[in-house]
Each structure stands twice: as structure tokens, then as C-alpha cells.
Symmetry: C2
């Protein structure tokens, strides 16, 4: 057997050498311009992955967390999950004749989204619970899949899972090919993301962290189901993000990626660990190819986190200057 | 480059062929007797992993969940986490002179565990919260590590992380080498397990699911910390196990492993999915090498789940008959 082992070793070294040479020849981030942002990313990855580096990080510790809305996919003119909820209200309306005279549903059915949402958190909470609870987890996953396959973005006319940022998909893939485990840590619903993010980003359901409602185990006709209840379980935003990371991952990421003040605590938590750390903020400054908004936006507000990024030397990505293209569907 | 690719392919096929031959020559479960239980395990794994099998399951779907107390490590004379809490009470007592006259602490400090715990859930809750909350997550992890390195089991005199079942460690490793992702789904504390299970079982923190208390993000001297609060967040037992699995994994396991009625719902949830499914129960029937208990035990009670295992043909492992050895430290 000793002889066989030697043959295996030689063959593996040989194969790996060729694979390495091939990999180096290709640019892993072709949608990124050769600007400082791209260089900061590749410099960090080299620093933690090269065996000779004093800052080498073992594979098990290479945890990277990504916000979703505004970081991996677009979030304008409003969070896509809210657009999903509004579509669900319309789809469910025939079973709810009482909605014709009941706010906020009556406003939505008349097409007046602005008035419907003017009630703030209470109205939004009512719309979300009505559309997200009351069914089993399997049923909800199917509803999300069906919506994703049919609904289209009001501005681009594209399916929502096409509204993902090509440079970020490349970045996820580049990190994974360097031994990173990539996680989503989003204020969005965990069960709203899981049915489609594996195909979109290559991130499996067990690496998705998000906001959640409670579920309950029940037997229905002798079959166990999990029923979604109209009660908040966890809000994975702001101070909640480090809590969610600790609950689901149980160790501190070495790299964090966000775009708004909702990601500030995640980036603080990430960068406060010992050893090499990386924080990146996607700055929406491209009104032509995407949207331009930051300090004063009601969606994806980027104010405190932009100041802290400047103060601490985090990488701020200009969508306009640092990305060759935003969406895969662009010419 | 086309020529290089061919060389890589040939070298890889060659290496893999030898690795496969070597692997087949070794028994992956040497601590298991060649009884029906072992055959059921290997038959299931062959059935879902062989490409030619009509029941082939892709790697991403190969999720296996394991209970911890009584399934991966021992749980007698009481749950080890409770023994940890009792040790902590003693260690913390000098800072709490009021405990000298306050139940349940006074009883514990006098060595009367039975009376201390006679108050039931309320007393246990008070002991657990006092010893598990009030510090940061990093501090608590260090406390657990220190205890694991020093405390010894009252009967065997071994460190608690030596009280793990060798056959189950082999089983975990065997499943992983067949593309499975192995998770712990335990009623025990998630933060009590994470500091040591990676070394003991090869299961990383992000694949540990357990009961939890709430945590809170805070800035202390400009550094972010997570503080452990004395409030229950989630109980990962019985009906809670499928809820925890759904929350953390987001897909249904195809194989589940437990030892008590606390695992029944997890095994029901696991086996109710479509396609090939596997459920296994470790039966504590070995008073010589471990302990013997089942239907009437206050710890690790196995009653309903034993009936259901019989009715549904789940694999029931006799520690006495199916395992060559229980602990690695046995001669």
C-alpha cells in the first residue's frame, strides 16, 4: 500500500499544480474594474490564504457574511419582499372580500401603495403577517418559487432573481474558490430567501440568516408539518445581525459585506476580531445603470456606516466606477 | 491549455481510483459489530450515494442530524451541562455570600444536589440562568473550555469530552466521507457545545443547533460584544427540534439519529420527507460498559420513540450487542 500512496501523492501534486496555473491565468473578478476596491479584495484574500503569509487563516475560519438587499441584489423602488407581499395581497383578495373596505388592504387593492404604507410599521406588519403566515413552510417555499418565476421588476421588467449584482456573484464565487464559506445575513425573511438564493448565489439554505416568524410543529393527517405563525421570532437587522451571526454561525466572520446603516453592527462585529479583517460597503452611486441614494434614502440608508467606513478605512465600492457592469442582463 | 486539462483529468482519475480502492479495503466502522444495525447503516449510505442507485441523493441534500446527550456522548448520572452548572455555582460562590442561605444555591453548596433540584424546573432554571448568563459570549466560551479541560466525570474519572461514543464518532466520519453534512440538534445549550464539539466530533460551530438564551449587542470601551441575557430564547427539544432544524438548516434531513423521546419529532420530521430516509435510535442497554435505562428513566426517557421505532422499522442500536466498544478509553 505504501507504493500506492506515493503514486497518489505524486498524481495529486501534479494535478493541483496544473489547476493552480490555470486558475491564475483567469481573472476571477471580470466584472470589476482594476481600481482600488478590487485590489483591496484580492490583497486581503491573498493575505489570508497564502501559506507563507504571517496572516494566514485556516479554511475553517474563513467565514464571510453578506447582506442581501442592496448588497447582492437591488432594493429599489422598495424592498422586493414588500413587492412580493403586495402581489400576494392581490392574489389572496378573492378569498378576502372584507379587504375591500379594510385598511391597509383596501388601499393596496385600489393601487394606492403610498397610502396603504402610510400607516408605517403597523400597516407593513399587518401586510407581511397576512401574506407570510398561516401556511406550512413547504407551502410558503412554493409560493415564493412561483412568484420568483413569474413576477417582474416594475422598472427593468426582469425577474427579481435577475436583479442580482454580477460583480458580487463573482466575488462570492472567488471567495469560495479560496476556501471561504459564504453566508447571507439579511434583514429580509430567511424563508423568503432560501427557495432561490442557492441558484442565484450558490449559497445553500443552511448558510442563510434572516428575519423570521415563529413556526410550530404539528401533525396533519399523520404527517408532520411546520406551520408559520403570525408572530415575529427574530429581526436580523442592525444590532440583530451580530446576534443572528452568533446564533447561526457561532464564530466571528473575518470578512463582511453590506451597503447600509443596517449593516453597521455586522461590520463592527466582523472587524473587531483579532487578526486580518475585511469590511466592504457597496455604495449606490450609479443612477444610470442602477440607482443613486445614500444618506437621505428611506430604503438602504447609508449614513453612519459611510462615516465609519471612511474613519476606519473600510473598502467603499462605487458601483459607477468600480463595476464594469451591474447586472448580467446588461449588454 | 487543452493539453494541460487532459493531463489533469488523467491524473485526477488515477488518484481517485487508488483512493477508492484504499478506502474500500478499510472498514469505516471498526467499533461496530457486523450485526443488522451496521448493515442497515451501510446499506442506506450505499443506496443514496451510488450513482447507479435509483435512490441516489445529490451531495447538497445529504443532511444528517444527531442528538447529542445520550446519542453522541453519555448523559448519566445527569446531563453533563447540569454538572457544569453545579460546578459553576461552586466556583462563583465566593462572589455570592448571599447564596449561603438562599435556595437552591445553599443546598448545592452543602453538597445536597437532590434537595437543590427538588424544586424542579424553577430551581434548575435559576441555576442555569445564574451560571450561563451575565457574561459575554467570548467569556462564556472560555469558561466552557476551561471546565472541559479540568472537570471529570464522577463515575469514570474521565474528562467529559472523553465520554463520547467511539462508534458514533466513526459513524459521523463515515457519513461525511460519503458527502453528508453532519449537524448536532440537541436540547443542550448551543453555546455549551460549540467550544468543544468540533474537536470531539468534527462538527463545526455553524452545524450545531441547540437550546439558547437571548444575547444583546453592546459596545464596551469601543469594542462590540454580545452579552448573554437571563432569558430563554429557544428550547431545542421535542417539537422544538424540527423547528430548530428548519431555522438553522432550512431543509429536511434525510437521516436522523437520537436516543430518547426528545428526538421523536426530529425523527418523524426526517422520515416524513420523500425519497430514501433513515432513522436510528441508540438504546442504552449496557449496564456494564455504560448505563441501562429506557422507558422509566427521568433522563433520556425512551418510551414513545421506542414504540414508533418498532412500528416504523427504524434502526434500534443495542449498545451491548451492536458496539464492540463504547468509549475510546476502553481497553
Amino acid at each position: 500500500m505504501r507504493h500506492n500512496r506515493k503514486i497518489i501523492a505524486v498524481a495529486l501534486v501534479w494535478a493541483l499544480a496544473f489547476i493552480t496555473i490555470n486558475a491564475q491565468a483567469r481573472d476571477p473578478l471580470p466584472s470589476w474594474n482594476d481600481t482600488a476596491a478590487k485590489k483591496a479584495i484580492t490583497a486581503f484574500v491573498d493575505r489570508v490564504t497564502q501559506a507563507s503569509s504571517p496572516d494566514f487563516v485556516p479554511v475553517t475560519e474563513r467565514i464571510a457574511t453578506f447582506d442581501n438587499d442592496g448588497t447582492l441584489w437591488a432594493e429599489q423602488p422598495m424592498y422586493f419582499q414588500l413587492l412580493f407581499a403586495l402581489d400576494r395581497v392581490k392574489a389572496m383578495a378573492p378569498q378576502h372580500p372584507e379587504w375591500k373596505t379594510k385598511a391597509p388592504f383596501a388601499w393596496l387593492l385600489k393601487g394606492d401603495v403610498k397610502t396603504a404604507l402610510a400607516g408605517g410599521e403597523k400597516s407593513i406588519g399587518e401586510i407581511v403577517m397576512t401574506t407570510h403566515a398561516g401556511m406550512t413552510t413547504d407551502e410558503f417555499a412554493q409560493i415564493v418559487k412561483d412568484w420568483m418565476a413569474t413576477a417582474k421588476h416594475p422598472k427593468t421588467g426582469r425577474h427579481y432573481n435577475e436583479m442580482i449584482y454580477r460583480p458580487m456573484v463573482e466575488l462570492l464565487s472567488y471567495l469560495r474558490s479560496n476556501g471561504f464559506k459564504t453566508f447571507i445575513v439579511s434583514g429580509g425573511g430567511i424563508e423568503f430567501m432560501r427557495p432561490w438564493v442557492e441558484q442565484a448565489y450558490g449559497i445553500p439554505p443552511e448558510q442563510v440568516i434572516g428575519s423570521s416568524i415563529k413556526t410550530k410543529f404539528e401533525m396533519r393527517d399523520g404527517k408532520p408539518v411546520l406551520v408559520r405563525l403570525p408572530q415575529i421570532d427574530f429581526i436580523d437587522d442592525k444590532e440583530g445581525k451580530p446576534v443572528g451571526i452568533n446564533s447561526h454561525i457561532g464564530r466571528r466572520p473575518i470578512a463582511g459585506f453590506g451597503n447600509s446603516d443596517g449593516d453597521l453592527q455586522m461590520l463592527q462585529w466582523t472587524t473587531a476580531g483579532s487578526g486580518p479583517r475585511f469590511a466592504l460597503i457597496v455604495h449606490h452611486d450609479d443612477a444610470d445603470r442602477e440607482w443613486a441614494y445614500d444618506r437621505k434614502s428611506s430604503i438602504g440608508k447609508l449614513n453612519k456606516a459611510l462615516d465609519e467606513a471612511t474613519a476606519k478605512g473600510w473598502t467603499v465600492v462605487s458601483m459607477k466606477d468600480d463595476w464594469k457592469r451591474v447586472f448580467a442582463f446588461e449588454k
